[in-house]
């Protein structure tokens, strides 16, 4: 058992003091001399042709410095993260000749202040020809439905279809004792990060541009902005200050980033574009609604033999990250179970609504709601304990999903057992008083994606570690801290490797001019991928230092050194060593004053189609349902999570709690309501996020530590997977409490009361028929 100095220890985050004193700078806090205000005009129609845009009156308004439209002032380049698959790139910064959702940007202005900018927008006259629109994916797929996009690969508004299959599903169904089919509907929710989208662009002249922006993927923004503006990617500098949450909603190039840049290029002044909260709803992104059908074949003993999943997603007007959500939903549908025969068909369908995209869980929350709900239905049918049926069908370490994935470490068995033990599951399941119930949900999740949509020639993560002459260390990483604590994890990994104190580590990040390229924060990739790049970089540094130490000390075994607690010493003779700083100084002198720099990178190899490693977990919720009001109260929530080696326990617990509460909102209260494509609740007053009094009073996080061979120090995902099982877990607990099953999300008091009423009527009818 290795003794770590900083890994797994209770350590304060490195960005803490600036965040609690108000000193931390976000994009919105940036104010540059001469800075103008940029604002966008948005479409009031869900689907319309643009016949003409008249900007004359706006341009004449005193204080207006520039007015831009798509056809006149942009290159009209279609962009998105799908550089590798150009047929999926379907979005432009400003509409070119057609708008496809209410809120789509049509024109933009730069003015001396907000009031003038708003007045200018009101003076832009856009002539539209309204086109028929469609809002539901099943309607959109029908023959004769309005066509939202032209193009050889789009058929009946389906922009992408996903299929995978292994085993022999049809034959396997025939051998099953039972086959059941259930349908589910999942609604739409938004990311609702508290920091709105905003950008500050400063054109430096001669094709050089700096953009400060709210993003979780600086490198993607750099490459795609270059494409949209026709500049060289290396001449565009993206700076990511602190970011106030992303959750998947800030991983694409957005109009505010392009518009701020073009306005700055036109005016020669810095331009800031800040979206209002309403604009974040109407011009933002959301999680995919899905129509889901599951057909599952199983045996009397509870073994699941075959499964067929089919889903149709409401993708909105553009692909965004939808094709990946679609793919991953079908993939996570299997987790964390051993399904020997599986077939998946998913369809990404355009509608005239805001685009749906990646959102924490990336297709997983929808998958696990359906999977967990149906497993409980199967357990009930067989008279089995839902925990037992989960244990029976669980994945084991080394599990292979043919053609898709190999799971190395897997602690799902321990997770389920510990969650059961901690909650007194056996004493409670089916035995709680009426109105109270307990439910379980399980999941597995990725630790980074083996996906390179952006077609980057660079490694997925890069890192550079520079040791200064006084022993302090500068760490350069291109990954994106957006609140999850990844900069602190990076500092911990370097501190552990080099044996220096956390206070001597300086993390330099969020600037594409100084940091190595990195694919950014999505798919729970940063700890594993940046961690591995950092370990490689540190090993290079250590090799140099060990050589110097050997020259200074002259031991009989040359390179068997270790670095710990500010010393470099002989592994087998720890008392024989040198001060870290002394070795650093000598190493610099010995190499003609060259700085000591280590460079590392990481790209997954031979890791299948999805991820280099998988986390696992089990979630148990105890609820109380008020049968008079339909209100659901969470009494106790317990989660057991396998994230491999824990690097920062406080960070892991915080991620688990945050993920759970986001899932609680998804299940019980959040709902992006639209009518004819118009969002009816685009505010934090009407869109109901969980508030402090709503969250469970008792929340227990249990760490199930495994060792993941592919992860840094054995670590893997901790921030996203737990979003996935909550809806199913809560739905199962509600069923246990009051005997009604809601398959149509969200589970609102109205739906509960209606279901209770139907149950009562059915009972009365059955009684009469007896």
């Amino acid at each position: 058992m290795s003794e770590f100095s900083v890994i797994g220890k209770p350590i304060r985050r490195i960005d803490g003091v600036e965040k609690v004193t108000g000193a931390a700078q976000y994009t919105t806090d940036i104010k540059l001399p001469g800075m103008l205000v940029g604002k966008m005009l948005r479409s009031p129609h869900p689907h319309a042709k643009i016949l003409n845009i008249d900007t004359h009156a706006a341009e004449k308004l005193p204080g207006v410095k520039a007015v831009i439209t798509g056809p006149r002032d942009t290159l009209g380049v279609k962009y998105s993260n799908w550089r590798r698959y150009p047929h999926l790139m379907d979005e432009t910064a400003l509409a070119m000749d057609r708008v496809r959702y209410i809120g789509e940007p049509v024109a933009a202005v730069a003015a001396i202040d907000n009031d003038v900018a708003e007045e200018a927008l009101s003076l832009i006259e856009v002539e539209y020809e309204i086109l028929p629109a469609v809002f539901d994916p099943l309607e959109a797929m029908k023959d004769g439905a309005p066509k939202i996009h032209e193009g050889p690969t789009v058929r009946n508004n389906v922009s992408e279809a996903r299929h995978f299959e292994f085993g022999n599903v049809d034959e396997a169904f025939k051998t099953c004792d039972y086959v059941r089919e259930d349908t589910f509907y999942l609604h739409s929710v938004v990311h609702a990060f508290i920091e709105p989208y905003n950008s500050v662009a400063r054109y430096e002249g001669d094709g050089h541009l700096t953009l400060w922006t709210t993003t979780q993927t600086p490198y993607y923004i750099q490459t795609l902005l270059a494409m949209a503006l026709g500049l060289k990617e290396g001449n565009i500098r993206i700076i990511k200050p602190h970011v106030g949450g992303g959750f998947g909603g800030k991983m694409e190039l957005f109009s505010d980033q392009v518009v701020a840049s073009i306005l700055s290029m036109k005016t020669g002044k810095p331009v800031k574009v800040e979206l209002t909260r309403e604009e974040c709803f109407e011009g933002g992104r959301r999680r995919h609604p899905m129509y889901y059908t599951l057909k599952t074949g199983y045996m009397k003993d509870g073994r699941i033999i075959a499964k067929e999943a089919k889903l149709y997603t409401d993708g909105g007007a553009y692909n965004a990250m939808g094709p990946t959500s679609l793919y991953l939903s079908g993939f996570f549908q299997m987790f964390p179970y051993n399904i020997p025969n599986y077939r998946y068909d998913g369809f990404h369908v355009y509608t005239n609504k805001i685009p749906a995209t990646a959102m924490r869980g990336f297709g997983g929350p929808q998958a696990e709601f359906t999977c967990d709900s149906q497993i409980d239905m199967i357990a009930e049918h067989l008279g089995m304990d839902p925990a037992e049926i989960r244990l029976k069908n669980r994945m084991e370490p080394g599990h292979v999903i043919p053609g898709l994935a190999k799971v190395e470490s897997c602690g799902i068995k321990e997770c389920i057992e510990r969650a059961m033990e901690s909650t007194g599951w056996k004493e409670k399941k089916g035995k709680l008083p009426k109105g109270r119930g307990i439910g379980m949900g399980c999941y597995g999740f990725m630790s980074g994606g083996v996906f390179n949509w952006i077609n980057s020639p660079y490694a997925y993560s890069g890192a550079m570690v520079r040791v200064n002459v006084d022993g302090t260390v500068n760490v350069y990483i291109g990954s994106a801290e957006i609140g999850q604590g990844s900069d602190t994890v990076a500092a911990q990994i370097v501190a552990e490797k080099l044996g220096v104190p956390m206070s001597d580590i300086n993390v330099i990040r969020g600037d594409t001019h100084t940091c190595p390229p990195d694919l950014g924060a999505w798919g729970s990739r940063q700890t594993l991928m940046v961690g591995n790049a950092l370990i490689m970089a540190c090993d290079q540094v250590l090799e140099k230092l060990y050589k110097t130490a050997a020259a200074l000390m002259g031991p009989n075994v040359v390179y068997d050194y270790a670095a710990k607690d500010g010393r470099i010493f002989i592994k087998e003779r720890p008392e024989r060593g040198l001060d870290f700083v002394e070795v650093v100084k000598a190493a610099i002198r010995a190499d003609e004053g060259n700085q000591i720099i280590g460079r590392g990178y990481y790209t997954p190899h031979d890791k299948g189609m999805v991820s280099p490693a998988y986390s696992f977990g089990a979630q148990v919720a105890e609820v109380e349902v008020d049968e008079e009001t339909g209100k659901v109260t969470l009494l106790q929530v317990t989660t057991a999570h396998d994230c491999g080696q824990v690097i920062n326990e406080l960070g892991v617990e915080g991620q688990l709690e945050g993920a759970f509460v986001m899932g609680q909102g998804y299940t019980l209260s959040e709902n992006l309501v639209t009518d004819q494509g118009k969002i009816l609740n685009p505010s934090f007053v009407d869109y109901k996020l969980m508030r402090a009094p709503d969250v469970p009073e008792n929340f227990t996080s249990l760490m199930v530590e495994t060792y993941e061979p592919e992860g840094p120090f054995g670590a893997k995902e901790a921030g996203e997977g737990l979003t996935n099982p909550n809806a199913g877990c809560i739905a199962n607990a509600i069923y246990d409490a009051i005997g009604v099953r809601i398959t149509d999300m969200p589970i609102t008091p109205e739906k509960i009361l209606k279901a209770l009423d139907e149950k009562k009527k059915k009972r009365q009818k059955d009684k009469r028929n007896e």
């Binding site: 960005d15 976000y26 990060f193 508290i194 604590g485 986001m662 934090f684 402090a692």
Partner: protein, 161 residues
């Protein structure tokens, strides 16, 4: 037409000329240049802009600057005493009471207001005391713990002095 406004901000007297429609958050962030308080919704629903006026939490996006004439305004920047952090700040650091940090300046001031009124709140009282402040990262669990912890620290400090 601008009007003259006199008030104190984090203990310092200010005399400024402001437009009648300027909100308190605009005055603090855009005119005076303290960027701790944040704008999350500009509608009094998220609490990221929370500051104290005479010790009580207020959504500074929903108050006009001229309304604080003669009043004492405190922002997160006034919480620490030089490099010595306030017990609330220490507790947020030790207990993981923040993640992205965007709601934190408002959350800390809401907590200070709560402790001003009730120095020894129960967990239940803390939960309800934060109902005006949204956090999308933490799930509130650690924020609630941090405030409870801070109250204990302050009680201890008060006891020692």
């Amino acid at each position: 037409m601008k009007k003259i406004l006199n008030f104190t901000l984090n203990g310092d007297p200010y005399e400024v000329a402001v437009k009648p429609k300027t909100t308190l958050i605009e005055l603090i962030r855009d005119e005076i240049g303290l960027t701790g308080p944040k704008v999350g919704c500009n509608a009094g629903a998220c609490g990221a802009c929370t500051v104290l006026v005479d010790g009580k939490a207020v959504d500074s996006c929903s108050v006009l600057a001229l309304q604080v004439e003669g009043h004492h305004v405190e922002t997160v920047e006034g919480l620490a005493d030089g490099e010595k952090l306030h017990p609330l700040q220490e507790a947020f650091l030790d207990d993981g009471g923040y993640q992205c940090g965007f709601c934190t300046p408002g959350m800390l001031m809401a907590a200070k207001s709560l402790l001003n009124e009730n120095p020894d709140p129960s967990i239940h009282e803390i939960r309800h005391g934060l109902s005006g402040n949204l956090c999308r990262c933490t799930g509130y669990v650690r924020i609630i713990d941090s405030i409870h912890d801070a109250a204990q620290r302050m009680k201890k400090e008060g006891g020692e002095s």
